[in-house]
Amino acid sequence: MEDLGIKIIGALLTVILAFTVGMTYGGIVRKLTARVQNRRGPVIWQNFLDLLKLQSKKTNIAHGFMGHMAPVWIIISAGTVLMFIPILNGNLWFPNLTFHGDLIFLLYMMVFGSLGMALGAGQTGNPNSAIGVTRGLSQMVGFEIPFVLALVALMVQYKTTSIQDIMDIQAQTGTWMMFANPFAFLAALFASLGMFRYSPFDIVGAPAELASGPVSEFGGKYLGTMMSGGSIFAFIKLTLYVDLFMGGAGFGTGILATIMGLGILLLKTFSLYMVPVFYGWISPRYRTEQAIRYFWGWPTALGVIAVIWAIF
């Protein structure tokens, strides 16, 4: 019973951590972007303000059941994936649930949210939303190929499909996966550019083309909930990358160890997050087919090399 209690508290802590970190990262990116653009920029906690405001909107429009459900799907997807991803290695307070984060499960579960979003956007009947969704799904087919190649390379190399095992092996051998199989890391890194949807891959909600794409018709609490889901997802993706390629984080259960583990995690995730952000600052947007072709070019080739590397 005590075990279960810790797990429930741990799960709540994980959600709060993911939400806070995701939102704060968003705020920091806004601030940094502003600084690069010669501006002062908003405060770092601006995203929280935006969220609070969106949640306190008095009226909210839904175009029907799926529109109402879209944010729910996103949060389900985000929340569920979060429960199955190891946050800190060997820490009691941030446990993932017993089965140790199966990679294939994660791949599919992450799509769950996108599909829900897509359905919600579809129900509004706004052509911009539908076009945005087709773009998003098409781009997903693009970046999933190198990403999966990288994951297959990982699985083959370490003969496991569990994230926890991969983390453990990295901890044991002392070699990060990004050095053990650099090609896989590079392929996944390229894929991450598409995953985070910064320029040049922000084709889904491209303002000058599609107003704001799938979220065109969502406002108020719906937009706010989506924003929270998106923030959690950002954290999930980053943590996943850190777990897989950068050895994860975590030292143990003690208070000091937990704090240190979190510190290391934040350091790693933030530096990883800066890759797509930096790339985004100076890149215009691709057209959809250009973006897909991009992912099917070098990143996929790198992925293939990674798999071959892993086999031999």
Binding site: V36, Q37, N38, R39, P127, N128, I131, T134, R135, S199, P200, D202, I203, A206, P207, A208, E209, L210, A211, W281, I282, S283, P284, R285, Y286, R287, T288, Q290
Partner: protein, 368 residues
């Protein structure tokens, strides 16, 4: 109604991708534009009607609002038309000042264009920088004319006031700064392979049809045809200055962008030359009491080169103290309606806003 085999997509009037307040009704299949219709009139203020109720000088408050991003060519063209009707002389110093004002206006408009062109492709950094730096040019205007955007500075017979003390040095300094910054924008925008991929081969204006279609300005020069009012029918002090009219082959967005990039440099060059060569003397050939000021009957057609292309004024006077008719032909009147409707079909939805910006579509001068 049987559903057409096309989807209707409204681009504007309220859309981040539209330049100003207008609407382009796109018929698309997939993400390819099949037909495009430009709808205007969202900014129709009946200026030409109002001008008929204003006297010759009051008209200037209206003129500068014809095209908001670049108001000065309108004032100049009208002033020149009135001068032509009246045979009014313009002092040489005023011609030089007018040249400087024109080129400053062009330069600030180019900087807005940098923002529009790169912003519509999703590159916001250049836009943020250039619009921010544009304020320095507006500062010059403010010191010179008293207004940031609307100047009402050029009058028939000259300009409203002389250059303030120290303005010349300030202008030269600003030019140095802007020139340095232009390099930086170009590094981010033009050296970027993604931008090149986006811009090349998109929105092609055919060279053999361009003049017949009524294409003017940078889109025309982007097809390789060297046509610029500043050399065809020189006005102000342009015939005394040394500058290049750049052209590019291809007729696509990329060619137009290169033309504009070079033109922005040339503007700085011209401003420097004009400041250098400017003679001392009168800046204003006095007009009579504006309330009683009549202009001899007649008609005049004057043209000026703005950033978007040729701006023409057709001014008719019936000898009274109010213009009988002032008809404005903005560059966007052809570029933004018929030409756009011809080049948009077959393009990607993603490129519509991009092409729009490269064609220099400016709604207020289309519907006035």
């Amino acid at each position: 109604m049987v559903r057409e085999k096309e989807t209707t997509l409204y681009l504007g009037p309220q859309h981040p991708g539209i330049t100003g307040n207008m609407m382009i009704k796109l018929k698309v299949t997939g993400d390819t534009v099949v037909r495009a219709e430009t709808h205007v009139g969202y900014l129709h203020r009946a200026f030409e009607k109002l001008i008929e109720r204003r006297n010759w000088l009051q008209t200037f408050t209206i003129l500068c609002r014809f095209c908001v991003p670049e108001p000065d060519p309108m004032e100049l063209t009208y002033a020149r038309a009135v001068e032509e009707l009246e045979n009014r002389e313009v002092p040489e110093r005023a011609e030089y000042i007018r040249t400087i004002v024109m080129e400053l206006a062009r330069l600030q408009s180019f900087m807005l264009w940098y923002a529009g062109q790169s912003g519509s492709a999703g590159l916001y950094l250049t836009g943020q920088w250039s619009v921010g730096d544009r304020n320095y040019i507006l500062d010059l205007f403010e010191e010179l004319t008293g207004g940031r955007i609307y100047h009402m500075y050029i009058w028939p017979g000259g300009v409203r006031r002389d250059l303030p003390k120290g303005w010349k040095d300030k202008a030269l300094k600003t030019m140095d700064y802007i020139e340095k910054r232009l390099d930086e924008y170009n590094k981010i925008m033009f050296d970027n392979t993604i931008f090149q991929k986006r811009a090349q081969g998109v929105g092609i204006v055919p060279k053999d049809k361009a003049i017949e279609w009524g294409v003017v300005g940078a889109p025309l020069r982007g097809t390789g045809i060297k046509h610029d009012v500043r050399i065809d029918e020189p006005y102000c002090a342009y015939d005394k200055l040394d500058f290049i009219v750049p052209t590019q082959e291809g007729g696509d967005v990329w060619a137009r962008a290169l033309v504009r990039q070079e033109e922005a440099r040339q503007s700085i060059n011209i401003i420097r030359q004009a400041l250098e060569k400017m003679p001392e003397g009168e800046f204003y050939n006095k007009v009579p009491n504006p309330m009683k000021w009549t202009v001899p009957a007649g008609e005049a057609w004057t043209k000026t080169e703005s950033v978007r292309g040729e701006v023409g004024f057709y001014v008719v006077s019936d000898g009274s103290n109010k213009p009988r008719r002032v008809h404005v032909k903005g560059a966007a009147y052809t570029n933004g309606i018929t030409v756009l409707e011809k080049i948009l079909p077959g393009q990607n939805i993603a490129d519509v806003s991009f092409i729009l910006n490269s064609m220099g579509v400016c709604p207020p001068e289309m519907e006035r």
